[in-house]
Subunit: 214 residues, 2 copies
């Protein structure tokens, strides 16, 4: 027990709720740079996230060069064309109108991986559920997202990519599993509702809200 | 663009960082109940999390009955004994001393699943990376964790369980993939450092902090 343990009062909790409501997946970025010290402080904060066995398996490749960025964009274009083709006929036109990434403008771009060969954590907690190593990386990203939004930044998580192609293009070791491609920057617009709701793709649904009790 | 878009000022951001630093995986709970209206508000807040295609695939089974709780504990005991047996000889004694769950006292317990048959989201974003459906549930849990901690609650994520046995014991549909077992309640102790660091299991490591730039 620490004498200095914090109490989070109702005004803070209301602001936290507001932050969570205004967190959004952003795909429309201004091109202004993100200060490096801000970025570093956000990465430091994100990495105090929980991880299975305290394994801290997240690994970052920052994609800066125009050449590498173009490889990622080309991969997105191909995967997105294939995804469009698999959509039901009545949804194809809507799908084609969606803006699903911010690769052309986001000043900061990260590919985030999970190191499947890390010995950190000594295997604790992942014998029956090895996927918890990947989940640890996802949880870290969730915290990064909120901290970035609190700093006024927008983050977009891109998954319309071929994971093995991304790893290959960026020279990731074979032991790195690709988890997410993150675009980060100052948002052009801010919204409290998700773009996929605004565009008529998928409303908020009630299914998850039903709690079964046993 | 909304006229009422929020600005998160430096004092709020410092408090958010404090919240992230004091979030912990809690395994020592008081038995006092958690008010149902607080629990409901936390679940509502958590479910504004991002999800692939806005699919909102999280499903909750709340484990209340003594019989079901004992089934989960029995499963943990078996999985943990097997995990202990796989530890290196020089770490077995330390492993055996760790308190890895709070099943005996946590007043609120949830098994959280991902619905692999949901049609919400219409498949958007998960064709090349179907695992992003599971990741969406993980991100939701990360937000729930922070919101719970801000309310003074502790949360413990238990993964030392056989996923199929948990689903079976709780009567989950076959389409529900088990993601996490969450114990929630008022913590007996509060710490800024992880229990696994305090007990000498795994320190903070620097590997994740190195960012490769390409």
């Amino acid at each position: 027990m620490s004498a200095s343990k914090p109490v989070f009062d109702p005004p803070f909790r209301e602001r936290l709720a507001e932050l969570m409501r205004w967190r959004r997946d952003v795909r429309r970025f201004r091109r202004d740079p993100v200060p490096e010290d801000l970025l570093e402080s956000l990465l430091d904060l994100a990495q105090i996230a929980p991880s299975v066995g305290n394994s801290q398996p997240w690994r970052f490749i920052r994609v800066q060069s125009a050449e590498k960025r173009e490889e990622i964009r080309a991969n997105f274009r191909q995967c997105n064309a294939e995804a469009l083709a698999t959509q039901a006929d009545e949804r194809k036109a809507l799908y084609a109108r969606l803006k699903l990434e911010g690769l052309e403008a986001a000043p900061v771009q990260f590919a985030v991986f999970c190191d499947h060969e890390t010995e950190q954590g000594h295997g604790l907690g992942k014998r029956t559920m090895p996927e918890t190593l990947d989940y640890s990386v996802v949880g870290m990203i969730a915290g990064f997202w909120l901290a970035a939004r609190a700093a006024g930044l927008g983050l977009g998580w891109l998954s319309i990519l071929d994971p093995s192609a991304v790893g290959g293009a960026l020279g990731a070791p074979d032991s790195f599993k690709f988890i997410a491609y993150l675009c980060l920057g100052w948002p052009q617009e801010e919204h409290i509702d998700p773009e996929l709701v605004r565009c008529g793709w998928q409303d908020r649904a009630a299914a998850g809200r039903r709690v079964i009790v046993v």
